[in-house]
Symmetry: C2
Subunit: 474 residues, 2 copies
């Protein structure tokens, strides 16, 4: 698997306490929505709940989650906001799976073996799947008052939030408005500096824990290098970090560092103020908790790295059931990392680098190497301007009815929309918030910003559905 | 060739007196913009003029004609407005050819032989070609002030106008605004009654000429039927209408009626108030002129049809050089009828019918037959909801900066946008105007509505380009 930051699976989520109730269905999605070379279709999975749906209401909407890079059940379970809001809006709830993820593989096991199979994995095709599905749903769930329009509110977090913003931009006649939570639509070439992500992550550690933790992590890389430079040191690293494969050479040392890098990022993303389950249970404020376990202000490499391991243990092995640490896993096994690797190699090319002024190691963004690795793995090469040309880049002032929310503790806020872009495409900033915390079920420990945001969303959504009715009736 | 009204080539245009000056270039367009199955590209032709282009101006735009179903040189020669406005805006002028028309055939002579070749002919792909071309042009023609944005105003008439409206809707970050002249974006299933087109055409004849002409045309169909019912009558029809192939059977009689039907429609479209050249020179107000040649209020079939032939002669054979009338030609040979037939068989499915209350014959819209014919010719079947799902149908109130202009004498105004759809997506009605007359070069004989519209366009375009500058500078 490619190991560069851009392929960090960035929608780490946790399992909600209350499992949502839904029916699982499929619909026949066109393989190719924009050409007519074939009529092929494939079953796209979606989850649906019509408990609250009121077809007699002129304003009852469809709540449509634009599924992202993973099994859709995971997103359904981690988007409590949608379920909590639905009764108040008498909404039909739909979570649609993104093609090439979960159970929605157009070519089964062959899906990623050749461009002739993998080539239909694109954001455009996924959005068109959702539009066709909505058209079918409107027939299956008609309003009692014939021809009365059904508002559709799109929801999404992370890449799913990018999709919810983009589906409103591209299909505003179908999608009434969108909540794009933690959607880094500007994490692309010439839009955001490639080092912004690491800088935001570092600052989140400083704010959530303290500068000592940042310094310790910063020092850990050279400590690993020093120990990794000889057999005795590698033996110590193996004994300490308990990898499933021993650290016997340089590449294993790099694997260790990549594995830790991913962990720090993932930990920052799920840095919620309340206990949440992801693989193993994490306490509230996990960044602070992990940092607490680490000794700071030490010059002894081994002492320092023992602390780092303590931190990693909390993240990866809170329950103590793992026998060894799998460096090939990014701790995100529910996500479709193969699919996301592919998307990062075609359209979703998010440059990542570090200038040496963060808690991470200095690293350049090397598009040539990225491209060559992509070709080796998938026989495709990234197009760095694709997303800009397709979705407008920073020129989105013509968009409307989009809420871009970003938690300031979230690394991905680096590529998010942090200022209003038009009268009705607006930015919501969530101090104290990690990755799409606002999409999650409400929690008494939510930061005030998140509590306030939810109230605001509710009033905006009401405006949106009323506008659809008023436009129709006038 | 399919013969149903929906495939009437609907962008009949005339050659301007002053030939525009341009360079002809090509760029490598991606065959498929929305999937990654292949890297294939093909040369897409475009015409460019940089005489007026001022890179030092902060507001100088690109005037971009979104080519439609024909050879792009024809549209360049018949869109005088673009050339007349360019000096005032210091604009770069570009006319881009639509893929699968003119010289922009991705697979040469094979292009329509199989869905694996023809399948990439779609409006989405064409729009994406234009967006990529614009990105290249911005690099080739940079502003002197680095990073200063270049506004782009899209122009188009007829299907080209549909494309100019849609490209603004789909890519508002690239396209600042659009003039969509005579763009029947609502000539689709469940948007416009299928008989509207014939009703508007009939009313245009009544207004341009008189009710007698309408009645005569209406009576001609049964007169043809009566004469076409026996050998002697068919011989008379052959002698009178001078077809290249004799009218010897029922199907030839139908060909005659289809040929006349197309003619009446085409004549209404080019019913300009000044002489214009199309195939043969036409006088100003050609509908009135043709009707003058026809006797009215007659019960004698032959006398009536001789008048009809006189009319047809003015349209088809004004210079008297044709030896016979080719019923297979719709008098629109510069248009890519094969390409348009194909598009009518996939996404551009425009239902046409007649309830017997117009000057045309009663005819039902029979989607099953249409579909079967499509399959027989192209191995594709029409999708009647495709355009609605893709471009929003009547739900386009979120669009902005689009001028929808429609001449009230234009048959295609039946499917046009005749009311404002938002604050800045507005309708301009042109009484006395035929098919996209406002896109043509100005003429002293233009109706007042067209003269006024041109002044209005100029002020709106100024607003658009200024807004781009102001948004950038603020």
């Amino acid at each position: 698997m490619l190991k560069f930051l851009a392929v960090v699976a960035f929608a780490v989520v946790t399992v909600a306490a209350n499992e949502p109730v839904y029916k699982t269905k499929t619909f026949n999605a066109k393989l190719d929505h924009f050409s007519f070379t074939s009529n092929a279709t494939f079953p796209l999975r979606y989850l649906i709940n019509d408990t609250y749906w009121n077809p007699s209401s002129t304003v009852a909407p469809i709540f449509f989650y634009t599924g992202n890079e993973g099994d859709i059940t995971m997103f359904a379970e981690n988007s409590g906001l949608v379920w909590e809001f639905a009764p108040h809006f008498e909404a039909l709830i739909v979570f649609a799976e993104h093609r090439y993820y979960g159970e929605s593989l157009p070519f089964g096991n062959l899906s990623f073996t050749d461009p002739k199979y993998s080539g239909y994995l694109s954001s455009s095709q996924a959005l068109a799947d959702y539009i066709d599905l909505i058209a079918e749903l409107k027939i299956a769930y008609p309003k009692k008052q014939k021809h009365h329009p059904t508002p559709v509110i799109a929801f999404g977090g992370s890449y799913g939030g990018m999709l919810s913003a983009w589906i409103r931009m591209k299909y505003p006649g179908v999608i009434t408005g969108a909540l794009a939570a933690s959607a880094p639509i500007w994490q692309f070439t010439n839009m955001t500096s490639c080092d912004a992500f690491n800088r935001v992550t570092t600052s989140a550690y400083g704010e959530s824990a303290n500068q000592g933790c940042v310094d310790t992590i910063k020092k850990s890389w050279s400590a690993i290098d020093r120990l990794g430079a000889n057999d005795a040191g590698r033996a110590w690293l193996t004994q300490t970090f308990k990898p499933c494969k021993p650290i016997s050479g340089k590449s294993n040392v790099k694997d260790l560092k990549d594995w830790l890098t991913d962990m720090w990022v993932n930990l920052a993303m799920v840095n919620y103020p309340y206990p949440a389950n992801f693989l193993a249970p994490l306490p509230g404020h996990p960044v602070r908790e992990v940092c607490k376990r680490m000794v700071t202000d030490v010059s002894d490499d081994k002492k320092l790295l023992l602390g780092i391991f303590e931190g990693a243990t909390l993240y990866f092995n809170g329950t103590g059931t793992l026998k060894c640490m799998d460096f090939d896993s990014q701790g995100t096994q529910d996500l479709g990392t193969l699919g996301w690797d592919y998307q990062s190699c075609t359209e979703m090319v998010m440059p990542m680098c570090d200038r040496g002024d963060t808690m991470f190691e200095k690293v350049a963004w090397d598009i040539k190497t990225v491209s060559d690795n992509c070709y080796a793995q998938f026989k495709v090469r990234p197009n760095v301007n694709y997303v800009r040309n397709l979705y407008g880049g920073k020129e989105i002032s013509a968009s409307s009815n989009i809420i871009f929310s970003n938690g300031l503790l979230d690394p991905w806020s680096s590529g998010g929309v942090l200022n209003n872009v038009s009268d009705t495409s607006i930015a919501v900033i969530l101090p104290g918030g990690a990755h799409h915390i606002d999409l999650r079920a409400s929690n008494p420990l939510d930061p005030p910003s998140v509590k306030q945001a939810r109230k605001f969303y509710r009033s905006i959504f009401k405006q949106w559905v009323n506008t659809v009715r008023n436009e129709y009736e006038n």
